[in-house]
Symmetry: D2
Subunit: 387 residues, 4 copies
């Protein structure tokens, strides 16, 4: 029988968008169960929210510190096993470190931290403590992204020469933060968001996606970051020119002022022998293009997908799976990894297919380097290795 993993959540109160996504993603396959939460720094609110989620009242805590302590007192077979962190960015580090030190595995939203030093500390500690640590760069959970990765790895595109990844949204075309819109307010505040808004919030996904699919890491970059909407503290539009190992040229865009764009994350990879194209808003589809210009369009569920892609689908072709399903693929793989570690058994071939703390730190390094390049107006070394 599938034993659900017991988790506690930090953040994700009633107004939060991403907390509910994490809970649905965790719930979808029945492999996780929510047992504790510190949903708000206001204990009453946290308790009320826990109740609405059917939590035992004693396990809806008023702070993450209280949750770590409270759960530690519970017997091992009731105690939460993992902590899910869905707070604003600046809190990721202390909570994640606390959870690791207290003996819990971690699932943390992105960007991992607001400084590279913090990110590297999490890499070091999670390794030393032998904890599982997933950073939810969720877009790599899509089956067709996995198919793309397999196609590149199999050499179907030849040598990768040009990588174009754009992540554009339009929701910050006005100064929403001045109106007190909650999502905009903390994302636009350097104290809570870190040194970057557009790059940190969405550019880090684009960076992760390109790396996952191509298997390549940037070696140099030149960034041009701008604040288009007057009165905003951080950049809301940025372009990064990249050089990848092996010489491929890259172009990464992150923009939150691209009016009318909803959640436009698109990756194109051009190789010496072919190209691929994937768009998050049409995620069931992977476009492969031959040198001749003839296109092959693969869809979720068609025959002939790679085992990796097929293993991350729940439905036959023509039955659209979406954002929650892709997000759930991360949760499912983490759950399976955790179960294998605890219950033994061999595990499945793709159980380790989720973004790790190293991936998260790589993203933080990318953000810091881009911010520095934009400030200096020149190309910078973009290489990073785990500490």
């Amino acid at each position: 029988m599938t034993r659900p993993i017991r988790y506690g959540m930090v953040g994700g109160g009633p107004d939060a968008f991403i907390g509910a996504v994490h809970r649905r993603a965790a719930r979808l396959d029945g492999e996780w169960t929510l047992v504790a939460g510190a949903f708000s720094s206001d204990a009453t609110r946290s308790r009320a929210h826990g109740a609405s989620l059917g939590l035992d009242p004693s396990r809806a805590y008023g702070s993450w510190v209280a949750m770590l302590e409270g759960e530690a007192w519970l017997p091992a077979d009731r105690r939460m096993e993992a902590v899910v962190i869905v707070t604003p960015n600046h809190l990721h580090f202390p909570i994640a470190l606390g959870a690791l030190e207290a003996g819990f595995d971690v699932v943390c939203d992105k960007p991992l931290t607001t400084t590279l030093a913090d990110a590297e500390a999490l890499v070091t500690r999670s390794r030393a403590l032998d904890r599982v640590f997933c950073v939810t760069h969720n877009y790599t959970g899509y089956p067709m992204v996995k198919e793309a990765r397999e196609r590149v790895a199999a050499g179907d595109l030849g040598d990768v020469r040009r990588v174009v990844v754009e992540y554009t949204q339009g929701w910050l075309r006005t100064l929403l933060e001045a109106e007190g819109q909650k999502q905009a307010t903390w994302r636009g505040d350097p104290e809570r968001a870190g040194p970057s808004s557009a790059l940190g919030d969405i550019g880090s996904h684009a960076h992760n996606l390109a790396g996952y699919v191509t298997g390549l890491a940037p070696t140099e970059l030149f960034a041009d970051l701008g604040t288009v909407v007057p009165g905003r503290a951080l950049e809301d539009d940025g372009t990064v020119l990249l050089r990848y190992a092996g010489g491929a040229r890259g172009l990464l865009t992150a923009s939150q002022i691209s009016t009318g764009e909803r959640n436009h994350l698109r990756l194109r990879v051009y190789g010496s022998e072919g190209a691929l194209d994937w768009l998050q808003e049409r995620p069931d589809r992977l476009r492969l293009v031959a040198p001749s210009g003839v296109e092959t369009i693969l869809y979720d569920g068609v025959d002939g997908l790679s085992p990796r892609a097929a293993a991350h689908l729940r439905l036959p072709g023509g039955h659209p799976e979406g954002f929650i399903e892709a997000f759930a693929n991360l949760y499912r793989n983490v759950a399976r990894t955790l179960r294998t570690r605890r219950d033994g058994g061999g595990g499945g071939p793709f159980d380790d297919d989720f973004p790790t703390v190293e991936d998260g730190a790589r993203g933080v390094h990318f953000i810091e380097t881009a911010v520095a390049s934009a400030a200096a107006g020149r190309w910078l070394d973009a290489g990073w290795s785990p500490p």
Copy 2:
């Protein structure tokens, strides 16, 4: 707090496609909880499957009869409240009737029954016993289908003049049933599927979708049904010409031999003042066309959707929701209806937005009439009113 509805499932064993969909749809929003099951007529298999789903072993039954009896002995606050039926078609009737008579509400897959007489009996009994009965014509659960309905109802299209609904698949282009493929075998067997394959399996969805969006019912029809693959017992390709109340002309296609089609359900409605177009494989999108030819494309999550559509979305624009989310909208609305009936309270404005036993019976009537028209080679009266 949200009290999950306790349900028992009949059918939905390890090889079944649709059972797992129902379970995920029920699970997604945390408003249902599986407490019992008769997953197989083989008690050992049923028990093993129940265990894999985390069920109490005593509540994994060897037959639906045993489940109805066993659950009746449990205290009211543990006993299942509703029965979900995901068996082959011919079993829908006895199980649904048994569940109703034993005091349970019902969620049943489509087509409701294999004969109109059975369907009408379920309508009559569920009404007499005051039970909630949902038939999972799940495609009306999509937010953009709901938006389409609201647009027609608001008169944006003027008078409806032409309705084109096509549901085509290619998976039965070969005689799969001769190879023992389980899904194909029972669907192709008149004993289990009823008098129709393509129309019953997918045409009934198309019929339901067109009725939901336009608010119109057919008054006359002419059907042309054919068996394209030699050796097949039932039709695998059919076209139905329709006249709707008010004079609109309709065209409904159901085909399982349209090679390469995955799950192509598309509805186009042409009115005197505009048209709309929705495609299930791109469900986040609703195309509205003005007489000028200018198109307006609405997407899940954009501003300006109707309250009905907006109420059935979980994510902001650009975050694709899919088949499971649409299916879950039926489950969520049924759960809310059930909770309001039991716990009181006013309920929400769209809680009753799910297909009922009358909708299911209307679909069975449509199938029977189409089969009769094809046999007679002439137009037949297609009107139906609930008994």
Copy 3:
């Protein structure tokens, strides 16, 4: 050197849409030259229009009879060689017959005639007189339609099983003919349009397209024709169920009241081993679908197209060719056929790839049979052989 073919035009005055299309199509490749015209039954108007086109004033005639006579007096090396007929339907027959008898080759718009008897007479006479006779079912001039034909002929789709061709427009959603709109007025007048409006005007193109691509002719049909807009004399919306030789099932739609549709001609062919899909509003693209659901998209100008398709392209991939270019392919092939007949030489392999008087007559037979079926409310034999 390329010797342009000298032609005279009947119809195509200043307000006519299709006359200007024919002239541009003839002009595009430099293989035709306009030398005479009877553009209007008003001699002054005809002359003025001829002048605007740069015609010798003596060759802008006040009637087609005058043109045939006047041109006959000119020396052979100045005289027009072919007559292009772009009048309302009811005039096609007398003019075409007159042109044939006077020794001219003919290019005639569709539908060929308003009665089958007239059409068959043109077949018989053009054969007896050994004249070239092209009927401008122009949609088969598109390169990707030719590619589709070659793919079917090569067996890439296996046995053809299902043919869906729809030609829908919205321009007649109101009673334009009551407002004196010229195009609508004659098309809605049985005296000038013949027994059908939607089927004759656009359904005949759909019928021709399906036949060209599949190589199949209907053997039986059932038609459902309707007049949606009150006050209209002829049908404006029709559906025809078809059986093709070999057993394939077909569905043909012609509608002029499909609000918002511009010129939506789409052909889908499903075979036992694959499917194809072509849309006139996106004519550079041919979608091929494998049984797996994987799509291959071919475009104008990509490597690997058939010689037939490639021979009808003027530009490399990515440089869109459109309606006029496709129309011009008919003119080019007719010109080459005529030059080979007169000047000798072997001609090119695709010079005969244009719709002939037999194709035109086949279309007229289809219209007559559909009108009869709709009136009778039953299936009719749809076979036709040239007289």
Copy 4:
């Protein structure tokens, strides 16, 4: 009556792609007539090609110098009026200058010249001599590009904030020039192409398109140019970051090694109040996006287009016009301008809507500045004013 403009062509021999395009574009509307040519530096070849085009043998010249001289001797009513230059880039300057000085108007392919000094000399001389000079940045000839321009000018997008223009092709993914492919050979040779390949050949179109639609000129730029295919002399992939007057941020890509891309020219403009999107490979369509994410799709020929767009269409909606038609719009406007200058009359409101020698020089300046920026690795001033 429409008096065709008599022109002579330099270049455009039998193997040339673009020469035949110019001739078809000139021919389409009957407003130009080819009377002379210097198609090849080999007099025999030039004569043979002239013959195939139906030219008087005495007017197929062995050099452009001979053509300018020979035509000068002809009487004014026979003599060519304009020179069309379709040679490799390095010849544009001497031929254009010669034509201007000899009294002819000029239509010249792009880039205008290989140095800014030459380009500015042509601006100065054509102004001094009062000649009409069109540089065929043909993509602005598309009706939907004109609609885009009108929408921006009308303020529908609010303030322009972000401009993304990409022009990518894949045909140079291998070292075609080493195989002697003619088009690749001269484009890859600095002697004939000038200092740039990708930017000069296609980036200059992208630059022109963005300027035409937005009405904005770059003030600063940073370029990153690379040679991806080993052995190539000039850049085959480039990205340019831009600042426009008013502060808008821009991104321009020109790539010839984007495997599988055919002729992918796409422009997106994001304003404070809306966005637009146009793709050359789907030129009949203009996508407008509201801040809400709702899209409005306009098509060629729909009601409600601006007078400018409507004036450049030949067919009703749903009848695709393509590359040649857009190119022909330049020729038509130049012809009308020339006729008005010679024959008098008021001319039409859009007769001057074609790219001029100033536009051509602006493109050459852009290329030079980008090449310099890439060499320097820093932002450069990008402003240019006509001399």
